[in-house]
Symmetry: C2
Subunit: 225 residues, 2 copies
């Protein structure tokens, strides 16, 4: 399938991992920067339901929502590195852990970050996240990660977790999250190191200082100082 | 693949649609009723992360979470009716609409149902749901539903939406939701009629009166009278 017509509507700093997906498949693509305070006609028409980035444009078709973009990219270029194992059970559990990462790591970290200091929900969120990182360690074991969930190359659950390598500093600084040590969660730490060294991530991830400034700027209205 | 070892951990009234999935594949299965106030060791061991029903047990493997059970059942018995189209774009959009149904129809309807009368969030939820039903109509069009998203047989997005046929009365009575008329949303109404006539649904769906009583009993602590 021709790869020269792949375009990705994004905003700066987010969702940077999307680029890593395309890099992982070795695709050529064009990034189109959106301004969320003045959304383009292209964005509004290509994602009429949510009107949000990211949207992948390919061969006249528009695929919204990051996780569905991953599924599409995986299946539209099946001759390239697969994002899922072949066994139905391993596939289902890859979805299971990807969903856990989405809800129980990222959504919880973001909502904890947005909770004001002093609100008991903030400390509860920090505690739950710590436990969830330990639970995630059992996911690495279940899917026999080495070091990625998908083996030596990144796959679906890895793509779900990859942005943590860039966002961890933001979550620590702005949400006060506590991450298990390398002794408590060795597989998580190996994963994060490997993601930081992955060629796709190197292209895709923003500079941590820049990301922190960006998030502070965008959250300052809703966050406690 | 042998089908005689398929078991499903459930509770009565929910998640009834799970049975329809197994019926749609023509599988034999055993239902195991769980008591959520005294969960079995089997449930705790087979879903250690969430400790929730449903869990599918097959050949010594445990698959938790309804949507991942659907994916597993579809792929473990590929020789039987497929739950997804073959085209990568149609597959991605089937996921997209399944997710929309999960979040923007069911989760919103349940949270609106639990919101107390007089809370402005209740009326806002009712209005948003009405709009979401109209948006869903565009999903039926996009995936060329006839009458199901998956064509003549039920598939992934259909399974996501199917429980509405049983729950609609509960949502109308307890959440006060408004559903577009058959003129405003003809495809939704055709879908609901077809689901009610589907052999799998007929086996799987609880009696509407029984379901209403069940929900009232379980929500009475958190709901306004």
């Amino acid at each position: 399938m021709a790869t020269d017509s792949v375009k990705l509507l994004i905003v700066r700093a987010s969702p940077y991992a999307m680029r890593a997906i395309l890099e992982a498949k070795g695709l050529k693509y064009e990034l189109i920067e959106e301004n969320l305070s003045a959304k383009s006609q292209l964005l509004l028409e290509s994602n009429p339901v949510y009107k949000k980035i990211p949207v992948l444009l390919h061969g006249g078709k528009a695929i919204p929502e990051s996780l569905f973009i991953v599924l599409y990219v995986d299946e539209a270029w099946p001759e390239r590195a697969a994002f899922f194992p072949k066994d139905p059970y391993a596939r289902a559990m890859t979805h299971f852990w990807g969903d856990f990462i989405d809800k129980k790591i990222f959504q919880l970290a973001v909502s904890t970050m947005k909770t004001k200091k002093g609100d008991p929900k903030k400390e509860a969120g920090v505690s739950e996240l710590y436990e969830n990182f330990l639970t995630l360690e059992s996911g690495f074991t279940q899917l026999d990660a080495k070091p990625f969930f998908n083996g030596a190359g990144i796959g679906y659950a890895d793509i779900c977790l990859a942005p943590l390598a860039a966002w961890l500093r933001v979550f620590v600084e702005l949400a006060g999250i506590r991450v298990p040590t390398a002794e408590e969660a060795p597989k998580l730490h190996k994963f994060l190191s490997a993601i930081r060294e992955h060629p796709g991530s190197k292209v895709a991830f923003p500079d941590p200082d820049e990301l922190l400034s960006y998030v502070i700027l965008h959250l300052k209205k809703t966050m406690a100082a």
